[in-house]
Symmetry: D2
Subunit: 108 residues, 4 copies
């Protein structure tokens, strides 16, 4: 499965149902936050959760994230890769190793 076969499938699904009109960047961003809440609910009272349930909620987050990238006209993997380059510079290996501190709190 790659994006070049998944995206047309997602687009056709939406077009057939005439749902594009609901998919403004704002509504898709709300949808990502809503689905992220459902994903988090798997872990509400416990650090462990059923993998199938987590996978199911993660699929919903990813679906809206792919729809938003498509709406913005950007390649979802490209923007992750691009952001990774930025993060690499903010968190140099020698300073960030083994630490969960934010980049502006990293210590020498």
């Amino acid at each position: 499965m790659d994006l070049s076969s998944l995206l047309p499938e997602l687009r056709a699904f939406m077009a057939e149902r005439d749902w594009g009109k609901f998919h403004t960047p704002e509504n898709l961003s709300k949808s990502i936050a809503i689905e992220a809440g459902e994903l988090l609910e798997c872990f509400q009272w416990d650090s462990e959760a059923k993998p199938e349930r987590v996978q199911d909620e993660l699929a919903d987050v990813l679906t809206y994230a792919l729809l938003l990238s498509d709406r913005l006209g950007v390649d979802p993997l490209e923007i992750v890769s691009k952001k990774l380059q930025v993060t690499k510079e903010k968190y140099p290996v020698e300073k960030a190793r083994g630490s969960s501190r934010k980049y502006d709190e990293l210590q020498d």
Copy 2:
């Protein structure tokens, strides 16, 4: 850019910084919700937002979503495709067309 080249890059980034230990499914799910909130902030008071800012926040959501799928050992595009099949059945074209109702409120 495809997943087979992006994932090893993401994994190397994390391994070099010894961050894998922080990336439990629970922590990654919290991270997705946190980044989803930052994405939503682009639209806090307005339906319009600068595309570059939206793209930047979306990249963060996607990064954690890819890390979670990797942690769960599932293909992120595969689970989206699989979920799409389920959604297709819940929202038949003839009933769902042009409507934003939930599947259990669809009308004949």
Copy 3:
């Protein structure tokens, strides 16, 4: 400090800045989700967090929640109390005791 002295203070703060126009129920709900994400960020990689930081983020969630209740014309404490009555019936003591299950998964 009680609501009858806090609410007029909140309202005056907003009125002086002419911010009421931004405070639609939708925008306030987005704001609650955004601030909830910032609160969650205190616990992103750790179950422990500095109490002052948590308190600070909780104050933001509460502020928007009070503004939304005011906008809806309801008493925030009243709706909590009313909801508590409903929850009491969904989670009878003898079944719910010591369990974090959802009401539809409670066992006899």
Copy 4:
């Protein structure tokens, strides 16, 4: 209805069900984010929503926010009032009037 009568009622509800053990600050913060997502869902595709539904979801956010303030040992109205003083200084009336800009983007 005031806090001095609502809080004991909330505490008794939790104590009877032995739910205090689940109510760590982290779990309560996750719960607030989860309920904030459900509140946001009222506005997923539309700026308008049924007031009763919004009120119902807002009550859930408020319940967990009150439980967290109680757990932190702080007065929820007091921390809102305290934060309001800080915000007043960050957003002086003459600069902030009618604007939704962030304090660090306010113009003279």
